[in-house]
């Protein structure tokens, strides 16, 4: 079969603008918005493009917003605010894609009409042409504005700068890069080298293994999961290497009783099952019944069993059966500032004021789950945050109040983690593993 040459049309652009608008102006997450904006009218090819446009526009949003403010003589009317997102989508393309400028401008003008703003066609045309004329000057001026230059909101830049004075610029830069696709090979079903070979033979895809995390493969390019060999039968799963290191560091053994707190969507639960050769007694806990459905699906796919409990990790009295756990994984709710490269909506949705509520929750969960851990057992506290207030500070405060707790060194993280500024290990975006930002503190409870 063949197709007539398809170019990105106005409909795709309008769909992308609507999604960006829902994130920026309605505070909704990409996870909710993406499925909604992908209407039936879009082909799979368009879907890929719409996603690329949405991610690109959000990654560059702080810069685009600056440029738009300079290009508009007066602010947009409230009812036309969606046009800001449409312009953001187009600026992303003009700045970073190899689409010819004229094609971008003409399709954007049409997209304004698709969005029900035909009166704004002239405005859109003028703004974009103005940008093309003054491009160099505008971009030079933008470099003087921190948010536009580092493409992150000022509150986050301030926190990064004070937390990581030597590396904050590299963290910001890495957070705006597209993330690679990492997969986890189920070593109970196949070996990493066999799977690597299978990827090459079946779908002509190269993948790089990692000495730090056995079982991880970094794909040379992203593919849809349905083309991954044996995906449906659980031979592999999609998971960043940083997340894979959580279960790897906790190292569950057959016969042990394990708790995965804050388990949804169940990637780490499945990994715990695989690493214990399907022999551990795993409990997966999450506060959301809806998200627990994802855990069920994930476990079914890899053929693993777990006891699923909908409950609050900070309040074990509501769900715990009184039997202590050998190992506990607490992947705590956090600012997710380590995974901005995968979720460019995060810095735009979060507010500085969210952080203190999160640290409070993290402290309460850690203290509560410590009580369900056996003496001699291990608890791994992780977050996908790069902010020390959610990581080192939480663990340090906990250690002060718990003399029976000590932090174990984790050798495999030692040479890839950032320099120690407190207990535990911090992977920062831009690290040699090419992983997400992630924090790990492996705590051991003294035997009685």
């Amino acid at each position: 079969m063949s197709t007539s040459a398809g170019k990105i049309g106005a409909a795709s652009r309008a769909a992308a603008a609507a999604a960006v608008d829902a994130v920026i102006h309605n505070g909704r997450s990409l996870e909710q918005v993406i499925p909604e904006c992908l209407t039936e009218a879009l082909s799979p090819r368009d879907v890929t493009l719409v996603k690329a446009l949405v991610y690109g526009a959000l990654r560059g949003h702080c810069l685009h917003q600056y440029l738009i403010s300079k290009l508009l003589s007066k602010p947009l009317k409230k009812k036309d605010i969606v046009l800001e997102s449409l312009l953001s989508v187009s600026l992303f393309q003009l700045l970073e894609s190899d689409q010819p400028d004229f094609a971008v401008v003409s399709a954007t003008v049409d997209a304004a009409a698709v969005l029900g703003r035909p009166h704004a066609r002239g405005l859109v045309n003028a703004v974009l042409r103005n940008f093309l004329r003054q491009r160099e000057v505008l971009l030079k001026a933008a470099m003087q504005e921190p948010a536009a230059r580092y493409r992150l909101p000022v509150w986050l830049l301030d926190r990064l700068r004070s937390s990581w004075p030597d590396t904050w610029e590299a963290i910001a830069a890495a957070s705006n890069l597209q993330a690679p696709m990492w997969i986890r090979v189920n070593q109970q079903r196949t070996s990493v080298s066999d799977y690597q070979q299978q990827l090459k033979t079946d779908i002509n895809l190269s993948a790089e293994s990692s000495a730090v995390c056995p079982g991880s493969l970094k794909l040379e390019s992203a593919v849809r999961v349905d083309v991954l060999p044996g995906f449906e039968s659980g031979h592999s799963s999609v998971q960043d290497i940083a997340a894979q290191l959580a279960a790897t560091v906790l190292a569950p053994k057959p016969g042990e009783k394990i708790l995965d707190a804050c388990a949804a969507p169940g990637g780490k639960t499945g990994h715990l099952a695989e690493l214990s050769a399907y022999g551990a007694n795993i409990t997966a806990l999450d506060h959301s019944a809806e998200r627990m459905q994802r855990v069920t699906e994930n476990l079914e796919r890899i053929g693993a069993n777990a006891t699923l409990i909908v409950g609050d990790a900070a309040a074990p009295e509501g769900w715990w059966d009184g039997e202590l756990f050998d190992r506990v994984l607490l992947d705590a709710p956090c600012s997710a500032t380590g995974v901005i490269r995968r979720h460019p909506d995060i810095p735009l949705l979060r507010r500085d004021s969210d952080i203190s509520a999160l640290t409070d929750l993290q402290e309460r969960m850690l203290a509560a789950l410590w009580l369900v851990l056996k003496p001699g057992g291990q608890l791994l506290y992780t977050t996908c945050s790069v902010l020390p207030v959610e990581n080192q500070s939480v663990v340090a405060a906990f250690l002060q109040g718990h003399p029976e707790a000590r932090v174990l060194p984790v050798d495999c993280l030692e040479h890839v983690a950032a320099k120690h500024i407190g207990p535990g290990h911090q992977l920062l975006p831009g690290n040699p593993l090419d992983s997400d930002g992630f924090y790990y503190a492996l705590l051991e409870k003294a035997a009685e």
Partner: protein, 170 residues
């Protein structure tokens, strides 16, 4: 690897019904590789063995935007279908013709992979369209068969005329 010649409508051999592949061996895998090479070079997004005058039930496709998601279906069967959608289709065996064709919107297909292992998958959108289009080839059917008699005759005349002209100048 080699580029194979694609039969063009109204070539009578496009009407042969293909037989199931008996065993997925190296010969078949070689054919799969050649089909991919031929498809990408054309350029197309799907190619059935029938189109290169091999009458065995196998097809290859890649509907991804970056042309980096190759898929191979050996002895494919559609085991479920629902919905209806019209998509503009073209065909490497009917060059230059693009027409809206109505097909099932969602399908579930069972086939063997390049490794000979059986798999099932759900498809929708362009992927579903392409799979149905290519399976039709294996049954000796072409997308122009769905057009009205009048339209098809007109197309046929135009294509035959174009083919004659090319053979004169060649």
């Amino acid at each position: 690897m080699s580029l194979l010649k694609i039969l063009e409508y109204p070539h009578p051999r496009l009407r042969i019904k293909a037989v199931p592949v008996a065993a997925v061996n190296d010969t078949i895998r070689q054919l799969v590789d050649d089909l991919f090479e031929t498809m990408y070079a054309a350029p197309g997004i799907g190619l059935a063995a029938t189109q290169v005058d091999v009458h065995q039930r196998l097809l290859v496709l890649d509907v991804s935007d970056d042309q980096n998601e190759s898929m191979c279906f050996i002895n494919p069967e559609i085991i479920a279908r629902d919905g209806a959608e019209i998509t503009e289709e073209g065909c490497l065996s009917v060059p230059g013709v693009y027409e809206g064709i109505e097909r099932a919107q969602h399908i579930r297909v069972r086939a063997l992979g390049r490794d000979g292992n059986s798999f099932e998958m759900d498809a929708e959108g362009l992927l579903a369209v392409c799979i149905q289009h290519e399976i039709d080839h294996l049954d000796g059917k072409l997308f122009v068969d769905y057009l009205s008699e009048l339209k098809r005759q007109r197309l046929k005349k135009k294509i035959v005329k174009a083919q004659k002209q090319t053979s004169v100048t060649a």
